[in-house]
C-alpha cells in the first residue's frame, strides 16, 4: 500500500477513534486517538499493516500524561505515532503486551518511571529501578523530588 492508501485506510476504519490527525512531514504522521482504542488500533497496525513497533514514549505534561506509540511502516518509510492522553491523577490504559511480545518491556518501564497502570499486563514487575526504591515515586514526573536523604549532591535532581 502507498502512503495515501494507508492513511486513508486508517481514517476510514478508525474514524471515530481519531481525535486529531497531524500529517507533519512525508515521513512522520501523528494521530491522537482515544485511550480506549489503543489496543484495536495498535494491533491493527502491527498485525494487519505489518508495521514494526519501535517504542512507546511517555511524557508528563500536566494535567495529562501523554503516551506516544511509535510504529514504522518500513516499506513506505512512514513513522506513525499514536498519541494517547491520560488523566494524570489516575493514569490507566489497556496493555498490548498480552497480544504482542514487543510491548512487554516498555510498558513495564513506563509504569515504573511514570506511574501509568497498564491493565492486563502479563508481568507487571519492576524493570529498571532498584529494589529499595520507594513505591509511588516516579522519577520522570515533572514534580519529582529527591527522596533519598543519604544522597550526596550539590544541587537537586
Amino acid at each position: 500500500m502507498t502512503r495515501e492508501e494507508v492513511l486513508q485506510d486508517l481514517r476510514g476504519r478508525f474514524g471515530e477513534d481519531i481525535l486529531e490527525f497531524l500529517d507533519k512531514s512525508p515521513t512522520r504522521v501523528y494521530i491522537e486517538i482515544k485511550s480506549e482504542s489503543i489496543v484495536r488500533m495498535g494491533s491493527y497496525l502491527f498485525r494487519n499493516l505489518g508495521a514494526r513497533f519501535q517504542i512507546a514514549s511517555g511524557t508528563d505534561m500536566p494535567p495529562h500524561i501523554e503516551i506516544l506509540y511509535h510504529f514504522i511502516l518500513e516499506d513506505i518509510n512512514v513513522i506513525i505515532s499514536l498519541r494517547v492522553k491520560l488523566n494524570r491523577e489516575n493514569p490507566e490504559i489497556a496493555s498490548l503486551a498480552k497480544e504482542i511480545e514487543a510491548f512487554n518491556w516498555i510498558e513495564r518501564e513506563i509504569s515504573e518511571l511514570l506511574g501509568v497502570t497498564f491493565t492486563g499486563h502479563p508481568d507487571p514487575r519492576r524493570l529498571l529501578l532498584a529494589d529499595n526504591w520507594p513505591e509511588c515515586v516516579y522519577p520522570l514526573r515533572q514534580d519529582y523530588e529527591e527522596w533519598d536523604e543519604t544522597a550526596d549532591r550539590t544541587r537537586g535532581v
Binding site: S25, T27, R28, Y30, R52, F53, Q54, I55, S57, T59, M61, L68, H70, I72, E74, D75, N77, I79, S81, I100, E101, A102, N104, W105, I106, E109, R126, L127, L128, L129, A130, P139, L140, Y144, V157
Partner: protein, 394 residues
C-alpha cells in the same frame, strides 16, 4: 531430578540493558528464563531534560561506549526533525564515516568475544588486534578512541583534514587481508559449523513479534535496516548490500556481522575518497515548539530517539531506545530448550555485551553456588573441544 535455578548477571553496559537473568534448568536443558534489569540505569533521559540541546549530545554519547556514535547521530536527527532543516553534504559524509567506523570496530569486538566464549582465543586476539587499527583511524579523525564528540544538531563539530585521509585509507586497507583470512578461518571451520548451526534459532515470525532489530533480525530473514528503509546520512550515495540470511541461528548471526564488516569498510572508503566540499555546520539558533523522531542503524540495530521541545533551550522530553532493549527479550525465545553450555553463546549472539556473561553464577535450589561465570564459559569451551576431537577422529 528437580529443577535448578541459575542466576546470570547482573552487569550489563548499555543504558537500560544491564540484566540479571535467572535460568531454570532441568538437568542440562534450560526450561525457563527470567530477567531483572536496573544495574546500569543512570536516569539519562531525565538528565538530558536538564541540558540545553547542544549539551545533550554529550549525555547521550555516554549511554554506551560502543554505540557512542549512533546515539548522538539519532539525537541530532531527532532535533533536526523538529523543524525542517538540511544538513550539508559534507557533514553527512563525515557522519557516515564515523558511524561506519564504529560499526566495523563494534562487529570486530563482537567477533572476538564470541571466539573467546567458544574457546577460540586466537580469534579473540586477532579480531581485537584488527580493531586497534580502526580505533587509530577514529583517533586521527576525532581525537579520541571512543566517545568521538563529532556530532551537533545541524552538522558536525570537527572537519576532516584532507592530509589525514591517505593515512586513514592505508590503515583501513591494511586490515582487509587479515580480515579475509579471519573470515575464512571462522566461516569454513567444520567445528564451528557443528557447534553453532541450529543453536539458538530465532524464527522469522518470532523476529517480527519481538520487533527484533539489526543483525539479530537480519539473520532470521527479516530485511530490516534503517540505512536502506529510511535513508539518512550519505548511505544512498553509494551501492552497498544489506546482508540477510534465513536460518536465524548463532552461526547466521556471525555470518551477518562478518559480511557487514566488509560492507562497512567499503562504505567508509568510498566516503573518505569522495568527501565533498562545503560547510560542516548549519548553526541552529533556536529550536521551535514541536517534536521530532530520529532513528539510525547502530551496530546492534535501530537506535531511536524522540525529542519534544516547548520552545525553550531545553527538551521537555527525551526518550532513548537502544537496540538491545528490543533484542534482549528474544533471548526468551531462543534459549529455552537449549543446553547450559550453549546459553552463553546464544546470549552473546544478540551482542548485548560481555559483562553479563562474565558474571554468571549457577545456584541450586538451596541457593548454594555451583558454577560461576568462568565455569559456564569453560563448559562452553569443553563442548567445542569435544566436537573438535570428534571431528578430528573422523
Amino acid at each position: 531430578m528437580g529443577k535448578t535455578i541459575i542466576p546470570i548477571g547482573p552487569y550489563h553496559p548499555l543504558i537500560e540493558e544491564p540484566e540479571f537473568f535467572t535460568l531454570t534448568v532441568d538437568g542440562e536443558t534450560v526450561v525457563d528464563i527470567d530477567m531483572r534489569m536496573g544495574y546500569n540505569h543512570r536516569g539519562i533521559e531525565k538528565l538530558s531534560e536538564g541540558m540545553v540541546f547542544e549539551n545533550s549530545t554529550f549525555v547521550v554519547e555516554r549511554i554506551c561506549g560502543i554505540c557512542s556514535t549512533s546515539h548522538p547521530f539519532a539525537y541530532t536527527r531527532s532535533v533536526e526533525d523538529i523543524f525542517p532543516m538540511e544538513v550539508s553534504m559534507r557533514a553527512k559524509y563525515i557522519r557516515t564515516i564515523i558511524a561506519e567506523g564504529e560499526r566495523i570496530h563494534s562487529h570486530l569486538l563482537w567477533l572476538g568475544l564470541a571466539g573467546h566464549f567458544l574457546g577460540y582465543n586466537t580469534v579473540y586476539m586477532w579480531a581485537w588486534k584488527l580493531r586497534e587499527e580502526i580505533l587509530d583511524v577514529m583517533e586521527i579523525l576525532s581525537g579520541n578512541r571512543n566517545s568521538y564528540a563529532m556530532f551537533k544538531p545541524g552538522g558536525v563539530r570537527r572537519d576532516i583534514k584532507a592530509e589525514d585521509i591517505p593515512l586513514c585509507l592505508k590503515k583501513i586497507n591494511s586490515i582487509v587481508p587479515t580480515l579475509i583470512m579471519l573470515k575464512k578461518a571462522v566461516l569454513d571451520d567444520p567445528v564451528l559449523h557443528a557447534r553453532l548451526k541450529g543453536v539458538g534459532v530465532l524464527s522469522y515470525q518470532e523476529a517480527i513479534d519481538f520487533s527484533a532489530l539489526g543483525p539479530t533480525s537480519r539473520a532470521s530473514g527479516v530485511s530490516r535496516d534503517v540505512r536502506k528503509d529510511s535513508p539518512y546520512g550519505a548511505y544512498q550515495e553509494m551501492d552497498w548490500n544489506m546482508i540477510v540470511t534465513k536460518n536465524g541461528d548463532v552461526f547466521d548471526k556471525a555470518v551477518v556481522r562478518i559480511l557487514e564488516t566488509f560492507e562497512s569498510i567499503d562504505i567508509t572508503k568510498y566516503c573518505l575518497e569522495n568527501l565533498p566540499d562545503g560547510e560542516i555546520d548549519a548553526s541552529i539558533k533556536d529550536v521551535p515548539v514541536g517534536e521530532g523522531i530520529g532513528h539510525v542503524e547502530a551496530p546492534r540495530g535501530e537506535t531511536f530517539h524522540y525529542v519534544k521541545s516547548d520552545g525553550t533551550n531545553r527538551p521537555v522530553r527525551h526518550k532513548v531506545r537502544a537496540p538491545t532493549f528490543m533484542n534482549l527479550p528474544t533471548y526468551k525465545a531462543t534459549v529455552i530448550g537449549q543446553t547450559i553450555s550453549d546459553a552463553t553463546i546464544i546470549l552473546a549472539a544478540i551482542d548485548p555485551c560481555y559483562c553479563c556473561t562474565e558474571r554468571v553464577a549457577v545456584k541450586d535450589d538451596k541457593g548454594k553456588m555451583l558454577y560461576n561465570g568462568q565455569d559456564l564459559v569453560r563448559l562452553s569451551r569443553e563442548k567445542t573441544e569435544k566436537m573438535r576431537q570428534r571431528m578430528g577422529a573422523k
